[in-house]
Symmetry: D3
Subunit: 245 residues, 6 copies
């Protein structure tokens, strides 16, 4: 049940304690993919899992702006501070929990949000009246995960499958031509860069020409399957904290 289009009287009657909050971002994704890529994809994954799951699950509107200061040199990128982002998510989960939807999966579309989501999920689970875990969709597509990049094959493919109008196919060659091979500027295991403009000319990492609508469908099947399994596990999971030793 998607809250945006539901009446409160519908929500009153739904029998579940499961909810999802899609977590997006508005940030550059190269010359071929839109600034809203992460939001669109997070919504896609959450909605697909919600539709396919036998049991009901509440879906909140997507958080449209996240932690994307690393892309700030590229026009149109929006971001909030990490602490504002965490507060925004925490408040949303808190209001979901007030209605009894207190087992919450944060369905994330942006790598830059992941650490902050893990932190806030811990705070919620330990100190608030809810249990929350983050789920980042492209980490749950098997071996494809290693080809993630930024504006790369995975994100582009999922858009091509579900939101094909949002991909500018004619720019794929340009996107690939100036893309960098790797996220970051590394010395050993340390990323020396804090802004993506330090290592990519056009904002792209990876080769989006490897994307296809078929690949997008495959990715969506894989990640929504993983998300459904997570939801079923969370529904049964004991959220109580361990006792002191």
């Amino acid at each position: 049940m998607h809250l945006e289009s539901a009446m409160w009287t519908d929500v009153q009657g739904v029998e579940t304690d499961l909810a999802m909050v899609p977590i997006g971002s508005t940030e550059q994704h190269g010359p071929h993919a839109p600034l809203g890529t992460d939001t669109l994809n997070a919504e896609t994954v959450a909605e697909t899992a919600a539709e396919r799951l036998d049991d009901p699950v509440v879906v909140s509107p997507a958080v449209p702006v996240g932690i994307a200061e690393e892309h700030r040199q590229f026009s149109g990128t929006l971001w909030t501070s990490e602490s504002t982002f965490r507060s925004y998510v925490r408040d949303i989960v808190g209001s979901l929990a007030s209605h009894g939807f207190d087992r919450v999966v944060l369905v994330n579309g942006h790598g830059g949000n992941a650490a902050a989501l893990r932190e806030v999920a811990g705070a919620i689970t330990r100190h608030d009246d809810a249990y929350a875990v983050p789920f980042t969709w492209f980490e749950e597509v098997g071996d494809y995960t290693s080809r993630m990049g930024h504006g790369g094959p995975l994100e582009t493919a999922l858009l091509q499958h579900v939101n094909p109008d949002h991909v500018r196919e004619g720019c794929l060659d340009d996107a690939a031509a100036e893309a960098s091979d790797r996220w970051g500027d590394w010395q050993g295991r340390v990323n020396l860069a804090f802004d993506s403009a330090e290592f990519t000319e056009n904002g792209v990492v990876g080769d989006p020409r490897e994307a296809s609508a078929d690949l997008g469908e495959e990715l969506l099947d894989a990640t929504s399957e993983a998300l459904m399994e997570l939801l079923e596990t969370v529904a049964e999971h004991d959220p109580d904290r361990p006792t002191h030793r």
Copy 2:
């Protein structure tokens, strides 16, 4: 230009310093209108003005959760604290300004957001590198404003015109039957109530049966006209602060 669907390379080329941030809310709107009413309507108004305006204007994704704790007793309502809300809006405006879009109209769909938006617009204008003003769409529909209510004729009509699938027509009689006449519980000019459940049974204030798609069209014309005039004024307005006396 709507950022969600634009590429950063498009944004780089747009010649304007004007931007709009639609500000919504996810909150009960009675048994006939969806929880996303305020977001949908804010998006409608911003997008309409953007389309009709001769000059380009950047439109960010809508802020989907706002200050709606007053509706917390109604299932599905989401909210953030006022300070989190202000920080979220301020950060978004700050990132818009970093790209040169530093004259920003906050296009608001929810009365409960209005005071906080005025406060944060003042902070932005006085202390940050941008000029911002809030615009609440239903305050700019002439005499109709007085019939606003909550889930009442105006909000319902705008949905009927633009998002008719989101209105549950069969529930309008029920909505009206249990609606209250007036927002609040008043002693003189003081509203004694802090939660809408103190004065409305089903969340509705006003009679949504007075709504129609035609009225919605009329409202949209009026408010988008007012918004366009505001944008044109803001484009010419001197944002510098006065000197000390």
Copy 3:
């Protein structure tokens, strides 16, 4: 019972759960009225109601500095940030409530404080151990309210009635000569201005020559009557929050 002049042993014995906190401001009021106008008038109204009310009510000292950054270009104006102001008021109400005075009216003398007071009263009522509502004196003087202005007829008249030494009668003509007609710089319903120096030369809005001590007496009678009714209502009001639906 005014706390400033009471002994704690007096307060221990008072049988009430009602309290008032006068909320003032130190800000320019033109060449004829003092910077302390709002504080003086808030104190006047609170004290008059306390005296005339049959039942006891505790009165705290006035908060002397509020949200007045909008007047910062005029010498002598003092202000705090909105968040500091809310915290200061919230802490004071919390300490009143700790002694059993947990039904609190915030008696306000400054329009710029009103939105922040409504916000903090909501936070107190929903999350702390007290019930609080704001009361802005010049909103409760019937049709006169529309003539409020700034340093205009109403504020000046109340000073003339109660604190005549604080009005510089010889400057009234000057005050009126350079006054503006209207608060703000409006495009439709949007105030484009954030600083009063954007629309008034000498800080005055309205014509203070319309003031008189007689008018002041009339205003005081009206507003203190309204405040007494509010106090009586608050004393009987059910502060419990509604149950979830």
Copy 4:
């Protein structure tokens, strides 16, 4: 020049960069002295020094509620958190400085405020556009300082001299009878107590019967003399921070 009663046009013309902010408290002072003792006395001292000083100095309204949680068990005591208090003072000093009054003495009437005032004065001086120092009146009365107590001879005497109506003479014997000899509950140099109710029955420390209006006059002469000397020194003091070594 006391800001409360001044017009902004007066303040515009005053030639000084000196200001004083009286810092009070609303807290129990035994059965004989009012809750407003600290505020009244801080105002007395600041106003006396302002009158006697040859050069002009701006005086803001007194901060009426300070750090007094230690007296919270005694009815009528009001307090704010330490951080709120510091923010309130810092904002006031910041607005004074915006008008050119950027050498500020915080004239304090309450021992519990002293450490927080020193901290905030340091923050202002190092990081804001002003120089500020705290002055606690009863620390500047020579050997009398050691007899301070709480609601004791010094505070009572100053009230008797300037605000005699605020002292309840008939309660002095009672005040003394249940007073404690010493502030705190000490193990070596460590005060084990955090609330005054841990060591005083009626809130009094010291013997207020030792007070007299004559003593009050003597105290006022001494402390206002010290304050005047401080103001003169501050007027000449180099507020620039030292260079790095």
Copy 5:
């Protein structure tokens, strides 16, 4: 140069802009390794690199308490909130930078600190007057990294090499017997656990019997070599932020 034992006059003369801040934690490490394991190891690595590096580098005292709430069910574990931790680190780096040591490596001994350190390093680099990167020692030991665990072979070995008195050899069998094989309680790539007591009985993950002093020496050589290379790279790295595109 270790600041704890240096005189300020020494520091004044050191010619470098490089500094290290060892970042530890006080948290359970099983029955065989001390609560201070992470601090001891972070200090070891930082000091070794400082000694072996040809050029001078300033070393601050170690931050002894970090983000370890996940171990709170085990006696003696200390922690701070993530935001307090970040502020503490940020302030320390800010003071280092004030003396010209504005290229700072945060030498980390605890996995739970890593995400917060990356976040605060980004904030410092983008918004303060310094460049900072985190370095987590056990991520820089080649293939051994995969055997990290908690209180496992790597941490134990480094202690055995440098701080052998801090390892309780007689408890290694017990430590291994009740250890868990894997950090976390996983559903796909999502860790369902937020407290280590959810998946380990005695706090250990991995088999500390695989540790040896020789292994510790090998680990120290590898990680300090990596750290030296990082320091040399940071010394040459351009800390300026990219320009807007």
Copy 6:
């Protein structure tokens, strides 16, 4: 029991509710004493009292960076904001209390920390689940306290007794030659200075040549005796807050 070197299984078995947190600072102490003087001395005093006390007491790692912005002009000095410092200490005490060590003495080595420690101890005692008091070692050495200075006889002597390698004896004459006689720049009882560089050339106050290892031993005996008495008193002290009056 020092937590850094204890296993959690040891801590689980310790029968006490007493704990100490040594509170240090990293700040200039002249040309003869190290930046870590305050940390070293706080650790010395806490550890000595822990060893000599018959009953067990838990000792946390020392807080190594405190409130030392006043020494910022001297190279190598580190500091945090006061609010960060208080949060860091409060979180540590909170985690100690979670394990049952809820009577905590903050063993302080730096005068600049004292007021903030008193404030945070009050907050902990009133609002958290622990009782805490600060103890500043050099305030508990009888008449010697008056000779404290900065980098003066007392601090130097304690180092000479316990950490003689950390004192640079050859610099004592230089230290004394440029030392100032008195901490601060006083007008009456008001310290006009906020940075020590305003009144001392080399950072020293007092004559460190008066120090000796024998004096250090005497000081340590005195202060650790006082600390032991305090611990015994705290162990018996009723931490409950008084009832309202």
